[in-house]
């Protein structure tokens, strides 16, 4: 049995039917083809699947798609428009080398975005506390924290076109 849903993802409305057991992360990756949201642990621990649900960071491997009906989801693809510029936090990760393999990065970007939406200028401790639910197996935490600090210090980012480099 399927269940009718209506979900806005990155500003685009999706009206369809899903098997109620479809996890939000699978709906995003498979139905919406938004594969930026990663599955790391699949057990609610790593935060790689973090997206914003009505502006709040949630682990999309632990949310049913039907639980998100009539609500708004933002994924990493919804941060910068396809032709740039990056959001400050994306630019921060570039400036401060906030990623190595990149697997955790979409989750880090979304958790960081939620933090900066709430607190303009978080302390290092607030940043670290806010990232408690996000694991990086390349152990890049120092640089991730610095990337978010960069974003807080440069709320206008750097207006470069993606692909142009600098």
């Amino acid at each position: 049995m399927t269940f009718p849903i209506k979900i806005t993802v990155n500003g685009k409305s999706h009206e369809t039917e899903v098997d109620p057991r479809t996890l939000l992360v699978h709906f995003l990756r498979e139905d919406c083809q938004l594969t930026g949201t990663h599955v790391g642990c699949d057990t609610s621990n790593c935060g790689a699947c973090t997206v914003l649900l009505n502006g709040e960071a949630v682990k999309s491997c632990t949310v049913l798609t039907v639980q998100a009906t009539n609500q708004e989801v933002q994924t990493v693809e919804g941060l910068a428009p396809p032709d740039g510029p990056y959001t400050p936090i994306q630019e921060g990760f570039r400036q401060e080398h906030g990623l190595q393999c990149g697997y955790c990065t979409p989750g880090m970007l979304m958790a960081g975005t939620a933090l900066l939406n709430e607190i303009d200028n978080p302390s290092e401790e607030q940043i670290r506390e806010h990232l408690e639910g996000n694991l990086c197996r390349c152990t890049g935490y120092e640089m991730i924290v610095r990337s978010i600090q960069w974003a807080a210090e440069n709320p206008d980012g750097i207006p470069v076109e993606i692909g142009e480099g600098s």
Binding site: H26, K59, V66, A111, G133
Partner: protein
């Protein structure tokens, strides 16, 4: 990992949820935030045939001043509890502890009612309900009843909430003492407590222990010693008195007993 198949029934009011529970009986399970239930369903440790979603019942999410107590709706998410000025002022132990449940993403989804109904001795908020001597309102086909914290946690993952009932509200008496403390010992920031304790020091002190038995438990011997004015170190030595902590991969029984005394000692010295 994907849960087994189920039928999905969203409820828009407590009455509707109770009617659905009556209709589907023990085939059905309530889902609130889903942050205890969905992990179990993904592992196929829980396989409800019908899932009744109460997540959209906005009427069950509230924090209200009721004079001598603060009423908290069962569906209030941990994040709202953590950030509530009313709770910070009147039940600081609760607001503080809610901020230590899991991580920010978990706190954005998990609800106080789900945390309590799950009845896990390793959870943080049951210890607060015991320490604060809260009352719990349960609604079922025959109306509403009130259960005291001491009668709520009945067995491992079992509570006083029957299969056809809903936990709707938790009433926390306003704290008039000065001193309280929450201590949680875990290995990584987002982890569950290996042992923890919640302390409210007033004329009638309350001490709730985490992971020190098959249910959330009260450290009654230590409470009595504290009430009769014994020294902190003597009170702390009674933390595990009469309790039977489990042994598992995180720690053996004797290790938990030791931890409970150290943590209660810290709570008393910090409070």
């Amino acid at each position: 990992m994907i849960p087994a198949k189920f039928d999905y029934k969203p409820a828009s009011s407590a009455e509707e949820a109770i009617a659905l529970l009556a209709e589907y009986g023990d085939e059905a399970k309530i889902i609130a935030g889903g942050h205890s239930l969905l992990p179990l369903m993904k592992l196929r440790l829980a396989n409800p045939e019908v899932l009744i979603d109460i997540g959209g019942i906005n009427d069950l999410s509230f924090i209200e001043d009721k004079g001598d107590h603060i009423a908290v709706g069962a569906l209030t998410r941990h994040r709202l509890v953590e950030q509530s000025d009313l709770l910070k002022e009147h039940i600081p132990l609760l607001a503080h502890t809610a901020g230590h449940v899991g991580d920010p993403q978990v706190r954005n989804r998990g609800t106080i009612g789900g945390s309590l109904c799950h009845g896990d001795p390793a959870s943080d908020l049951p210890a607060v309900v015991l320490a604060t001597r809260a009352s719990l309102l349960i609604t079922g086909p025959n109306g509403e009843r009130k259960v005291e914290a001491d009668d709520f946690f009945t067995d491992f993952w079992e509570t006083a909430v029957a299969e056809d009932e809903l936990l709707t509200e938790i009433q926390f008496p306003k704290f008039t003492g000065q001193e309280w403390s929450f201590q949680k010992f875990n290995r990584r920031a987002q982890d569950w407590a290996i042992v923890g304790c919640a302390l409210q020091h007033s004329d009638n002190p309350g001490i709730g222990m985490i992971n020190m038995g098959t249910t959330p438990v009260r450290a009654s011997a230590a409470e009595a010693a504290l009430k009769s004015g014994e020294a902190n170190s003597d009170v702390a030595d009674l933390a595990d008195d009469g309790l039977s902590p489990p042994s598992d991969i995180h720690g053996q029984e004797d290790y938990r007993r030791h931890l409970s005394r150290v943590l209660l000692g810290r709570a008393l010295d910090n409070s």
